[in-house]
């Protein structure tokens, strides 16, 4: 008896969960489906089976040079992440392995910078960027994205580094390893998984950042967030093209996201939920 109840329970849970999950996923699914429709089909009412044309994809590239924006997204998200790691790894290392009384305060303070609303500094940043000639430049935006994500990167690395047993470092020190050797040969191999997770999450955050990337770019440095936003004032039929552009914009990050669920929880809750 007990067994059949369990199976029934499991069946009900399965059906309910799948219905809810598909409803939540539906807008994404429908976008992917619409991207394989022609513009005519796209507005002919609800239809889950596209004619399977790749027209929209080639048109998006031909009309607006889609690839340039995609490339900018890649350069900005990966570039800003590498910059952030270069700055954050030493900081997180020293906080995890030579903590002082003030380490906690510094960490909390770093976190607090993340809570400053972007709009509060919109005009000063705009002004500074304009005066330095950084508006619509990839390097300027890269530094910007690095700064807004730096606290999360330091925190995530710190929580990972703290889990590396300190005894190993002491043993290496006893064997006469210098500090840099210690970092390169002992710490780094153990820290690679943590660094990789941090990198993944930060690329996702930088890829989807939609305030500075829209406001500080016009054409040359504009990534996908800015490009897609330009679809908000359309002329003529454009849904299939919007869907094609959107599908390409979210696909890589969606796949990365699926692989980083655990790290996402940890990174975005600053280690409070694991």
């Amino acid at each position: 008896m007990a067994r059949s109840v369990t199976t029934r329970h499991k069946t009900i849970a399965t059906v309910a969960a799948w219905i809810v999950a598909l409803l939540i996923f539906f807008p994404i699914l429908y976008t992917i489906i619409t991207s394989f429709k022609s513009e005519q089909e796209a507005i002919q009412g609800f239809n889950l089976i596209p004619s399977g044309t790749f027209e929209s994809y080639s048109e998006v590239q031909a009309q607006s040079g889609y690839f340039k924006f995609f490339l900018n997204s890649v350069i900005l998200s990966v570039g800003s992440t590498i910059l952030a790691l270069l700055v954050a790894i030493p900081a997180a290392w020293s906080m995890a392995f030579s903590p002082t009384k003030r380490t906690k305060d510094i960490l909390m303070w770093m976190l607090s910078t993340k809570m400053m609303p972007a709009v509060a500094v919109l005009f000063p940043i705009y002004l500074i960027f304009r005066n330095l000639g950084l508006l619509d430049s990839r390097i300027g935006l890269m530094v910007m994205l690095m700064l807004i994500n730096l606290p999360i990167v330091v925190w995530m690395l710190y929580t990972y580094f703290r889990e590396i047993p300190g005894e190993i470092l002491e043993a290496a020190r006893m064997d006469g390893a210098s500090l840099w050797n210690e970092i390169i040969y002992v710490l780094t191999p153990m820290a690679v998984p943590g660094i990789a997770s941090t990198m993944l999450l930060n690329i996702i955050l930088a890829w989807n950042e939609a305030f500075w990337t829209i406001r500080l770019t016009t054409t040359d440095a504009a990534p996908l967030t800015a490009f897609i936003s330009s679809f908000s004032s359309p002329q003529g039929l454009f849904w299939a093209k919007l869907s094609a552009a959107s599908t390409l914009a979210i696909a890589p990050i969606l796949i990365m996201g699926w692989f980083s669920q655990k790290q996402l929880v940890r990174g975005l809750t600053f280690g409070a939920v694991k």
Binding site: W18, I24, P117, N208, F211, I228, S232
Partner: protein, 290 residues
């Protein structure tokens, strides 16, 4: 253990992060504060100068400012209610034994990875469009009049979109917390004859309380600065019906060049965020002590 040398090296290694963040926080914020006491218009500099608190006074006299704060709060609170309650229910559902749990999880978490402009435009055009959207199709199927979401109920429409983006986050965090609940405890409660509701109320919910706090605090930080979703759907309208504080600041600063007013709005946004941050820091800080 650490020698003087490693100590100073540690400080040296920390310096770049600290200096960068310090400059990034202090310089622009100080400029904003300064501008907030000024009349400053790059297009019409005739009347530029110190104006005291009059930029802030607009928050009492100009209905747009008051409405933007109200809209900000409505957006934050509505989305929090939907995502936290929905997230708890969804986490409980996904935590049940089922077939294809991994795929369900992936489907549910996906909207979180969709960049805001894409999420907003897909909802605006393909789901909520009064003529061609899926909602309109459904309404017509039942013989009802399709709703003009962005014309008639702009805030509701934006709340739905933003809630769709954040429900996965809440679900994922709460599910993670739920799965760390000791199975033995659950079994013991079941053996004692505790029903589903009392088990949920006395065991599961207290266990999740920390995760719920974290979800509320972190989401609030992000929800206070919703921007792209409004930009690509309603552009703040009709009128100021869906303008939140970040959007108003953007309009004042980069469209109307009323830098003083925009800066005052920015400072108000900082104060709002600080109230939240105060509680957030305490919650996260407590965890650090463990």
């Amino acid at each position: 253990m650490a020698t003087q040398q490693t100590r100073s090296l540690a400080r040296f290694m920390m310096a770049p992060s600290v200096v960068l963040l310090l400059v990034w926080m202090v310089v622009p914020l100080a400029l904003t504060l300064w501008f907030s006491f000024q009349q400053y218009n790059p297009l019409n500099p005739v009347r530029d100068g110190f104006v005291g608190l009059s930029n802030y006074a607009l928050f009492y006299s100009n209905p747009a400012f008051l409405q933007s704060i109200l809209n900000t709060l409505i957006l934050v609170i509505s989305v929090l209610l939907i995502t936290v309650i929905g997230g708890i229910l969804l986490a409980l559902l996904i935590d049940q034994p089922m077939w294809g749990q991994g795929i369900v999880r992936i489907l549910v978490i996906s909207p979180f990875f969709v960049m805001p402009p894409v999420a907003a435009l897909v909802w605006k055009n393909m789901i909520m469009h009064p003529q061609y959207g899926v909602f309109a199709d459904i309404a017509r199927f039942f013989g009802a009049q399709p709703i003009d979401w962005f014309g008639q109920h702009p805030m509701t429409a934006i709340i739905i979109i933003v809630a769709w983006q954040w429900l996965p986050f809440a679900t994922l965090i709460l599910l993670t917390a739920l799965q760390s609940l000791d199975g033995e405890q659950k079994e013991a409660a079941e053996m004692d004859g505790a029903g589903f509701l009392s088990r949920f109320w006395y065991l599961t919910l207290p266990h999740m309380s920390r995760a719920i706090t974290v979800v509320i605090l972190i989401q609030t930080i992000f929800l206070l600065s919703v921007y792209a979703e409004i930009l690509v759907t309603t552009n703040g309208g009709p009128g100021y019906a869906s303008t939140n504080l970040p959007f108003l600041v953007y309009q004042k600063a980069l469209l109307e060049f009323k830098i003083g007013q925009a800066s005052a709005g920015g400072i108000i946004a900082v104060i709002l965020a600080n109230i939240v941050a105060f509680f957030a820091m305490r919650a996260v800080g407590k965890n650090l002590d463990k």
